[in-house]
Amino acid sequence: MLGVTTVMFALLRAVPGDPAAVIAGPAATPAVLAAVRAQYHLNQPLVYQYGHWISSLLSGNLGTSLTYQEPVVTLIRQALGPTLQLVIVSMVIGVSLGVLLGVFAATHLRKAPDLIVSGFSSGVLGMPSFWMGLLLLLVFSVDLHWVPSGGSVSILSSPVEGLKTVALPAITLGLGVAAVQARFVRTAMVEALSGDYVRTARAKGASERAVVWKHALRNALLPLITITGIQVGILLGGVVVIEDVFARPGLGSVIATAIANRDYPVVEGTTVVLVAAFSAVNLVVDIAYQFIDPRIRR
């Protein structure tokens, strides 16, 4: 965590551009600029700025946005809901589709379904997500008018509208997740299906469906838990671009706007939250192993 925040802090400062100029506006005089810099400690040495930021971070204070003059925490809280919604729906789509495709490919090894799934994976992985997002937008929103082209509605308060707004961005991100998952599931399933315990299951008269879904899949999913955790991280990165494409409010658009405005506290604050979220997911993954695999239970 500390490493990531430090690197991010340094990188941000290395990017050319002066936040004071953004805050004060294009017509500001040098005197005004200097005053603005002093107000936000921008005239202090970097080490001082860093120390100041870290110490307030540790006391739970993410600072105040230079652009909006609002606490960063408030901005993040407003943006977190839509992003969380998008990430969760994307992962659900991605993992379930990925597992289905992977199992389908593994059970039809070197036959047409296997080739189709592998073609799907390569195709999706080769396509930039923003471009796929734009295509989906054109077809389902602009031409067919099935779903709105942007915005976000909470699924909890109005499920139908919420799902409609999240559908396209979630599918865009979910397909990317599914493409990777499908490949890993296929490999893991091929191995699991050649396992001795699968032969035992067949020998005791289990149906092919039970063999695949009950005996083999559970074992195959073990290595996938780690990959799923990592994918959440990749997804958090993808969110920044996709929220922009679909004009969704969320952490991604907050961060994108903040970078453009050199709004240091907001960029730093959101990054900290994203990194913390990623770490939390991976912690959950590690704990999940203990429950799923009896062999590493104490």
Partner: protein
């Protein structure tokens, strides 16, 4: 059979044996596709299993015995296919059933126990789930508790005192023997007509082996099922089977009652197998079958055994025409050999098959053992503890005593066998001797010099004169290094030889282990298991060591190859006067190689003495247990010919 029988009786009525069907296998042929083309793994196998009978399939690896078994259950791997043959169980065509019919047959009428019980059980499911599934797959109306009762009763039958605890366990929480007994319950819970046991004890310790075989016998007797027992171990087959089929290169080459196969074998391969098998009874010179089985793609028009056969004597018929199974004139088996009746069949059938075979084997002479001299290696009061130091977060643990006051000595040119089961501390002892692990206390002295705390030059000198040969010749050789480099490496490291000298020496070494100098340019994967072990031995010999530590050197090899390696080792020892520390769990091998024996049990030497004394008059209970556990064909269960015999406790 749509509901579970009364759960209070784990076994159906005994007279139920009549309801069982016989198995007929006729002309079964299986081809396996590989990227280099396809080959015939099973070639026209024909046999029969009568209700309640135990039939043994014996053969070395690659003989087709496992493929035959898998074919019976339609469990062949994807690249294998039955290309001809009929398999019937009663009226059912086992090869023709598909879908739901096949599913309901597996586990109910035919079931199978596999070799490795750890990988054969689902690691993520409790024993209860897996066993209950086996019942309910075929008894849909059985409630969960009925199923639990039923498997619980059967678990008791196979020797589990506390079935509930076993049911709650995951496979990894059980020992190997327990897992295999769980497998047996899983396969026997529906009282199948036929049980196929494919090397059920090969992955287990000797004492566990006997326990599992007994469990198998008890469960089978209780259910009245017939069994096909597949093994490479003639002793085990002899002890447990009514009839035996010997397989070679995908064919059955000899069939008969167990007694006939062991006492009046007619096929030269069967005779060879018996002659190359070390036995507990007495030390004798093993007579290996020369050569190796034909490669997968070798097409032989005649008898596949011809190149290794001692009887063919260049006769054209053997090379031209594959022999058919025919009753042996004057013998009591059926064999596929043109000259089967030429075997000098012993006139009197002695009480033990070993004696009978001995008479057929010309060269039974043993090399003289060198007298014992001053010990070259002396190990005194060796103690090794693991995990004593508690970590930062963990509580201070008691630690495991892997070696507990172990002392022994070996003189030049003699062999000490270190015997014990897995976990007894054998390998730790070997590693301590080689100074690969540091003992907690005690001493290791080599040639009169104490090695405790030896470093630098002293340690290097010792390492040159003490070499290791490991169990698995597959993983012991670096796959990316040519054989010549592997053998030559120690020479370059320790002897500062130039390339020409190394090449010369590698060539000599290869010849001394029965390979050819030109093999040095090849890679390990081009060799068979036995050849690889020869390469490992050549590598160990390259520095002319005075001590060889042999860690289960023949355990992963087939019987006929094992005999070749044991003979090779004996010759090398005789010629070079090397001391052998021979680590093994196999007492029959011990009988054949050891001068002295040290029996290790839980890290302590419980018995030490001359081989003859220890094996003939064991003084410690554990030694007696080990000896009793070795499968012995002369101890065949009385009257096993009748099939269903009660041997319940």
């Amino acid at each position: 059979m749509s509901t579970v029988d009364d759960p209070s009786t784990a076994s159906p009525p005994r007279e139920g044996a009549k309801r069982f069907a016989a198995l007929h296998v006729e002309g079964l042929t299986v081809d396996i596709r590989t990227e280099h083309g396809s080959f015939r793994a099973v070639d026209g196998v024909t046999f029969e299993v009568r209700p309640g009978e135990v039939v043994g399939l014996v053969g070395e690896s690659g003989s087709g015995k496992s493929i035959t078994a898998l074919a019976l259950m339609q469990l062949l791997p994807e690249q294998a296919a039955v290309t001809a043959g009929i398999v019937r169980l009663g009226e059912t065509d086992l090869l023709g059933v598909r879908g739901e019919e096949l599913r309901s047959l597996r586990g109910r009428r035919v079931s199978m126990v596999f070799q490795d019980p750890l990988t054969s059980l689902n690691p993520l499911m409790t024993v209860e789930r897996q066993l209950v599934e086996a019942v309910r797959l075929h008894h849909h109306r059985a409630s969960r508790s009925e199923a639990v009762d039923r498997v619980g009763a059967l678990l008791r039958t196979v020797g589990f005192g506390d079935p509930d605890r076993v049911l709650r366990s995951y496979p990894h929480e059980l020992s190997g023997g327990m897992r295999q007994r769980v497998m047996i319950v899983m396969t026997m819970v529906n009282s199948p007509d036929l049980l196929i046991a494919d090397e059920p004890t090969t992955a287990l310790d000797v004492t566990t082996q006997a326990q599992v075989l007994d469990a198998l016998a008890v469960a089978r007797d209780a259910a009245g099922s017939a069994m096909i027992l597949i093994s490479h171990d003639l002793g085990l087959i002899g002890e447990r089977c009514d009839r035996v089929h010997v397989m070679y290169n995908g064919r059955i080459i000899e069939s008969g009652s167990t007694a006939a196969i062991l006492e009046q074998p007619a096929h030269p391969y069967t005779i060879g197998l018996l002659a190359s098998r070390p036995t507990l009874k007495r030390r004798r010179r093993l007579v290996p079958i020369p050569g190796a089985p034909p490669g997968q793609f070798e097409v032989l028009s005649g008898c596949a055994f011809t190149p290794r056969c001692a009887r063919t004597r260049g006769r054209q018929l053997c090379a031209d025409e594959a022999p058919q199974m025919t009753a042996v004139t004057g013998g009591s088996t059926t064999a596929a050999c043109h000259f089967a009746s030429e075997t000098p069949v012993p006139v009197t059938i002695s009480e033990s098959s070993e004696d009978a075979v001995e008479e057929m084997v010309a060269d039974g002479e043993l090399p003289k053992r060198p007298p014992t001299g001053p010990p070259l290696l002396e190990v005194g009061h060796l103690v090794k503890e693991f995990g004593r130091r508690g970590g930062f977060f963990s509580r201070r643990s008691q630690g495991v005593r892997a070696l507990d006051d172990v002392s022994f000595g070996i003189a030049a040119g003699r062999t000490l066998a270190l015997v014990g089961e897995s976990g007894s501390g054998k390998s730790t002892a070997a590693r301590s001797v080689l100074q690969l692990v540091e003992p907690t206390s005690g001493s290791v002295a080599f040639d009169g010099r104490d090695l405790t705390g030896a470093r630098g030059r002293a340690l290097r000198e010792f390492r040159m004169s003490a070499q290791l040969v490991q169990q698995d010749p597959y993983s012991a050789l670096n796959p990316r290094m040519t054989v010549g480099n592997a053998i030559g490496e120690p020479l370059r490291v320790h002897r500062a030889m130039n390339a020409r000298q190394v090449e010369q020496r590698v060539g000599d070494l290869l010849e001394s282990v029965g390979l050819r100098p030109e093999h040095s340019r090849r890679f390990p994967h081009e060799f068979s298991g036995g050849q690889r072990q020869r390469i490992c031995i050549a590598r160990a010999l390259s520095l002319e060591p005075r001590l060889l530590v042999l860690d289960e050197p023949v355990s992963s090899l087939d019987v006929s190859v094992q005999a070749q390696i044991l003979s090779l080792l004996a010759d090398i020892q005789l010629e070079r006067q090397i001391a052998f520390l021979f680590i093994t769990h196999d007492l029959a091998v011990v009988r054949n190689v050891a001068d002295e024996i040290a029996v290790l049990h839980r890290g302590a030497v419980v018995e030490f003495g001359p081989a003859e004394t220890v094996l003939s008059h064991p003084s410690h209970d554990y030694t007696r247990t080990l000896i009793a556990a070795v499968p012995d064909s002369s101890r065949r269960r009385a009257g096993s010919g009748a099939g269903v015999q009660a041997s319940r406790e």
